[in-house]
């Protein structure tokens, strides 16, 4: 009986499979619009809707086709040669006196599920000199910063990007770029996921920015902190002003006495304020203890203090609002006035440009990397203005996300 009762169900199952299969085949791989683009990603990352309504897209098909042709032509004739040549006024290879290596957090594409490793890159060529694996298979690297000279680094590792604490490790490299073993840094536990790390040139102070998900103590807020390594004392500051604010681009003076950072609403216009505060300031709201050095409507993306703290290298959005370009300028931290413009960086184009900087221990050179040309790193001599770039495809495919030299 049971078999007889199952017959109609089995037949119906087959009919359903057949109908589903036939309907599904009306969509082919040629119909798919393609994966979200980097521009979509940028917008998505900022929580904006990136996907235009379908009806409007259909209406735009002929325009889009023409635009695609134009993009291909422009890419082939303008962008690719510029990529290969590096920035205007730049030269290939390394600058004299600049650090020979830099450390970066990489996310190799062959890792699935994704996981990060630390890589030591040769500044002149971008080639990998050494790879440092996380302290355990459960860990991922979140950030890396130089501490002291250009041969010692601190790495931040987390068990997941939803974790509530970060573990810090120290390691060094030798003259050939080979890395020593990771050694846990003897400091109290750091709350939240560390996003950026910076060490003072004297090797005594470490600064970081961190955030915690709503499950954690930070309740979705950013925090900036400094660790005095001799005393193992950690001091943290939250924003404390109106509205949600993210921190970015933490930096220290050579003696670790002053901390510089940028803050802002975290939307595509980027952070809008630059702050400076003594690392001896008491914990609490940033707005109470820090001094606002700069406020720009076009966005203050990065602030890197020079070794004395009298000036800061500041990345801002262009006044014209043009995407794909950022402006690097030197600012006086006392007056907030721009001393001089160091250059306009980026490829132009439709994508939001975001560059990250790392200052060498001597305070003489900047390492510049980021979007949209994320396969390229540029060194800049801050005294002469000379630049040198290196292009390595693996920098893009490995997803260099944080670098220190």
């Amino acid at each position: 009986m049971k078999g007889l009762e199952e017959m109609p169900m089995r037949a119906m199952e087959e009919r359903v499979r057949d109908a589903f299969g036939a309907a599904a085949e009306t969509v082919t791989v040629q119909d798919l619009p393609g994966p979200p683009t980097p521009a979509d990603r940028s917008r998505a990352a900022w929580g904006l809707r990136a996907w235009a309504p379908r009806a409007r897209l259909h209406a735009l098909v002929p325009v889009a086709a023409a635009a695609c042709v134009a993009v291909i032509v422009v890419t082939a004739t303008v962008v690719v040669p510029r990529l290969l040549a590096g920035p205007a006024g730049g030269q290939a290879g390394a600058l004299a006196g600049a650090p020979k290596f830099f450390a970066g957090v990489a996310n190799p594409p062959e890792h699935f599920p994704p996981s990060t490793v630390l890589k030591i890159y040769r500044s002149a060529t971008g080639q990998v000199a050494a790879t440092v694996r996380p302290p355990s298979p459960e860990h991922e690297f979140a950030a890396v910063g130089r501490l002291g000279n250009d041969r010692t680094y601190v790495a931040a590792a987390v068990t997941s990007f939803g974790a509530c604490t970060t573990q810090l490790y120290r390691f060094g490299i030798d003259a050939r770029g080979r890395a020593s073993r990771l050694t846990p840094l003897s400091v109290p536990q750091v709350t939240g996921i560390v996003l950026e790390l910076a060490g003072s040139a004297d090797g005594n102070v470490l600064a970081y920015t961190a955030f915690g998900s709503s499950r954690c103590v930070l309740h979705g807020h950013d925090q900036a902190g400094v660790i005095h390594l001799a005393t193992r004392q950690i001091t943290t500051w939250s924003y404390g002003g109106q509205g949600a604010t993210s921190f970015s681009s933490v930096s220290l003076t050579a003696d670790g006495s002053m901390l510089g950072l940028a803050s802002g609403p975290g939307d595509p216009s980027g952070a809008s304020d630059a702050w400076i505060l003594p690392t001896s300031a008491p914990a609490g709201p940033l707005v109470r203890h820090a001094r606002k050095v700069l406020h720009l409507r076009t966005g203050v993306y990065r602030v890197v203090l020079n070794n004395t703290g009298s000036q800061a290298y500041v990345e801002t959005g262009p006044a014209s609002g043009r995407r794909g370009v950022v402006v690097l300028g030197l600012y006086d931290t006392t007056t907030g006035k721009r001393v001089r413009q160091l250059g306009r960086l980026g490829l132009g184009g439709p994508y939001l440009a975001k560059l990250w900087f790392s200052l060498d221990a001597a305070g003489q050179h900047l390492l510049v990397y980021g979007y949209p040309a994320s396969h390229r790193v540029t060194e800049m001599n801050l005294t002469t203005g000379h630049r040198a770039s290196t292009t390595a495809a693996h920098l893009f495919t490995e997803g260099l996300t944080a670098a220190a030299w």
Binding site: M12, R54, A142, L400
Partner: protein, 186 residues
């Protein structure tokens, strides 16, 4: 549901984390897109009926993956995350259509199984798909997950957040309803 996405963080840290992970995320999303977008679009088509809406739902799901990747506690579950996102997206489309119908507006695109659409061959198939479209939402979802995607009952349990018994009984009820409808029409 086994896919765990932590509660939303503030836009600032989320954006910073996303920006930090971006090149790898792009690579991952591209690989996932190449491997799964067609199947997910077809699944969405079976649930919402028309290709443009299905494509939109899937595109939104991949963009959602960008937003959530840094907070996905187990990135190895990204495909399951996408599948659940597409299911949720389809539900939203159908809810929006229902509201539009209540206001007197018609659907923008005809269903692939409708008489207006000439893409699907076979009257019998059209009728069956039309009948499936009339089933309660959960029954439709179970049928699509089971007979199109070929998921196991335990995978459907994870995706829909219902018990295994519910999955089995829902599928049986859906097939019985279709058989009855077929019998009535015959």
């Amino acid at each position: 549901m086994q896919v765990t996405v932590h509660e939303a963080d503030t836009p600032g840290p989320r954006a910073a984390a996303a920006a930090q992970q971006a090149p790898a995320a792009e690579q991952l999303v591209e690989e996932l897109y190449r491997g799964h977008a067609l199947r997910l679009t077809r699944m969405a088509l079976l649930l919402v009926g028309d290709r443009p809406s299905a494509e939109d739902v899937v595109q939104e799901a991949f963009l959602g993956l960008f937003r959530g990747l840094g907070r996905l506690s187990d990135p190895g579950r990204a495909v399951a995350y996408l599948r659940v996102s597409v299911l949720n997206g389809c539900r939203s489309v159908l809810r929006a259509r229902k509201r539009a119908r209540l206001r007197g507006a018609g659907s923008e695109y005809p269903a692939v199984w409708s008489a207006e659409s000439a893409v699907l061959a076979g009257e019998e198939r059209r009728e069956l798909l039309g009948a499936i479209a009339q089933l309660p939402r959960r029954q439709r979802e179970v049928l699509v997950l089971r007979y199109f995607l070929g998921l196991s009952d335990s995978e459907i349990v994870a995706d829909l957040g219902v018990s295994r018994g519910t999955v089995v009984s829902t599928a049986s009820r859906a097939l019985a309803a279709l058989a009855k409808k077929g019998g009535e029409q015959a």
